[in-house]
Subunit: 346 residues, 2 copies
């Protein structure tokens, strides 16, 4: 039987952004994917394509946690899709799979690079969110590096985002008092009303950039009385404000510094020194990445999947429709236009 070819669409990463990333750094190409399969190859049709803040990290000029994302190739990304053709015994046409197939409609890959999803166990899109990389980051970041104890005050920056919204809820379940920081009144209402947090701080409510760190610090101090665990997705001025508020033996988890991703990793800006607070409070900072816990997914799923099934946890998803929207959707992350996990439905 002659193999069928696939009319493909692909977003190529073609230009390094100096500041905010957007459509001008990508090129949409229409190509044809040869449908011939070698042993164990599979062709996947993407249904949900991920946009994540880490993508912008990899677009910096210098090495970060990896070498820079090469120019001239399809943007790498996590994807959930369906098998269209398979030369693997493990996959059949129609199977839902999680892969790292990038910003393209079709991809041919080795069966070992795919993970089968059970659509009856949880919505398949959660494999890119609460039951995927962001969930793993939130779970192990908080539980291992944060070591939350009942009664602790947990502050989460980026609290309405994919990772932050989960950290905040995991913190509540661990018995913490949780205060989230987010941008805008609507998000802050969401933190209180939907996620059930104990407090919310709208960093956009403080318009004087000269006194922003101080104003923020005063408000966070007012709402918390001091911070035992700070889960940081954001960095920058928000972190400047939180660190002086830490309590004895506080744990600070650096999960992201999204405020610095518009070029600030190549050319860091200046901020007040703060290591003295680590000394005074004998506090710790721990940087974490999702990849450190890839081998422990089962541990996380064993705890979190029942919460997802029972709808005991809010796993908000913001969907953008249309393959052509991918670069703009990535941009949305840096403008904070998402609640929870941002996905492009294609």
């Amino acid at each position: 039987m002659p193999s069928k070819n696939f009319e493909n669409r692909q977003w190529f990463y073609v230009k390094r952004p100096a500041a905010r990333v957007g459509p001008e750094h990508y090129e949409l190409r229409e190509t044809t994917l040869n449908g011939e399969l070698s042993a164990n190859e599979v062709i996947v049709r993407a249904r949900y394509i991920s946009v994540d803040p880490y993508m912008r990290i990899q677009q910096h000029e210098r090495n970060t946690y990896d070498v820079p994302h090469p120019l001239g190739i399809v943007q790498r990304a996590g994807t959930v899709g369906q098998v269209m053709a398979s030369a693997s015994e493990r996959f059949r046409e129609g199977d839902w799979v999680l892969g790292y197939n990038g910003w393209q409609l079709f991809d041919k890959c080795h069966a070992n690079d795919l993970q089968k999803l059970d659509p009856d166990a949880a919505p398949v899109s959660t494999a890119l969110g609460v039951l995927g990389m962001p969930g793993r980051t939130a779970w192990f970041g908080l539980m291992e590096a944060g070591r939350p104890r009942p009664g602790d005050t947990l502050v989460v920056s980026g609290a309405a985002g994919a990772v932050g919204s989960l950290v905040a809820q995991f913190g509540k379940r661990a018995g913490c008092r949780v205060v989230g920081i987010a941008g805008g009144a609507a998000k802050c209402r969401y933190l209180i009303d939907t996620l059930g947090l104990d407090g919310a701080v709208d960093y956009r409510a403080f318009s004087d950039t000269q006194t922003l760190a101080e104003d923020l610090a005063n408000e966070i101090q007012r709402q918390t009385g001091g911070v035992d665990v700070y889960f940081d997705n954001v960095g920058g001025v928000i972190t400047d404000a939180v660190i002086p508020l830490i309590k004895l033996r506080a744990r600070i988890i650096i999960c992201g510094t999204i405020s610095q991703y518009d070029g600030g990793l190549d050319h860091p800006d200046l901020a007040p020194r703060f290591l003295q607070h680590m000394l005074f409070k004998r506090a710790s900072i721990q940087g974490i990445l999702a990849r450190d816990f890839t081998q422990r997914m089962d541990e996380m799923r064993a705890v979190v999947e029942p919460w997802v099934k029972a709808k005991e946890i809010v796993f908000e998803e913001t969907f953008v429709d249309g393959f052509e929207q991918l670069p703009e959707a990535l941009n949305m992350l840096f403008e904070g236009r998402n609640l929870g996990k941002l996905l492009v439905r294609v």
Copy 2:
């Protein structure tokens, strides 16, 4: 028998320094100590009085790890002295003791606040150095927070100081490659020739303050190839230079930030943001203070005292003679005029 009184000399802390601390912030007073003793009281005559960088921390306006040192009282300090009179069964005249008796020749205190020293076990002054607070800081800071492994590259700032010189040697004994940072060619020779370190970086060799962090970073990188453990006594530009050089899962121990003690704790200066490096390398920062390990002195002594007895470790002491020299001796710490532990002999 009528009790004997003691003609005392005391250094009162009378004025908060705005920058460098010196004699103008102290007042020398001659007083008389009433020799009458209540039950369990002891009168101690100081022989060695300590000057330590932490004293300057406590002179900041804001709370640091403690409330500020009060004005108008005798400067608090660790002391080694001899018992002159005792109403305690535990102490006899002539006994050597460790106490926290402050900058004064004589003090009357409760027997519970003294610890008997055995002059045959080790030179009594070591109770303020290698077998005392600085030794404890170095030992637990490195071994617990630093978790050194054979083959690790350990960088120590303030490497010729009381704590740093011990950390460096403990690191060698733990199988690390150790590079010390110190000010001046003489100290750097000492690090190599006397302490046996693998490398030394003289931060004073770089005179261009505009490029100091970069020049230092280049030199440290050249000598280390990357840093697994950074034991920081100094902070400031030296730390700015080291942090971007950390390797995967590096451990940074914040034991002091002496470069910032001339008022910088109240009014922190600006420095390049660096938390992204914690993320990239999944590295950790841990603040430590000697007091966290007070209850574990025996553990440290069990390991280190035999090294001291066998002279397998260099426990350099710089002595300044004369009670009236105390404020100036404290100042010396901030000018780096000491090798190892600085003590005033009185």
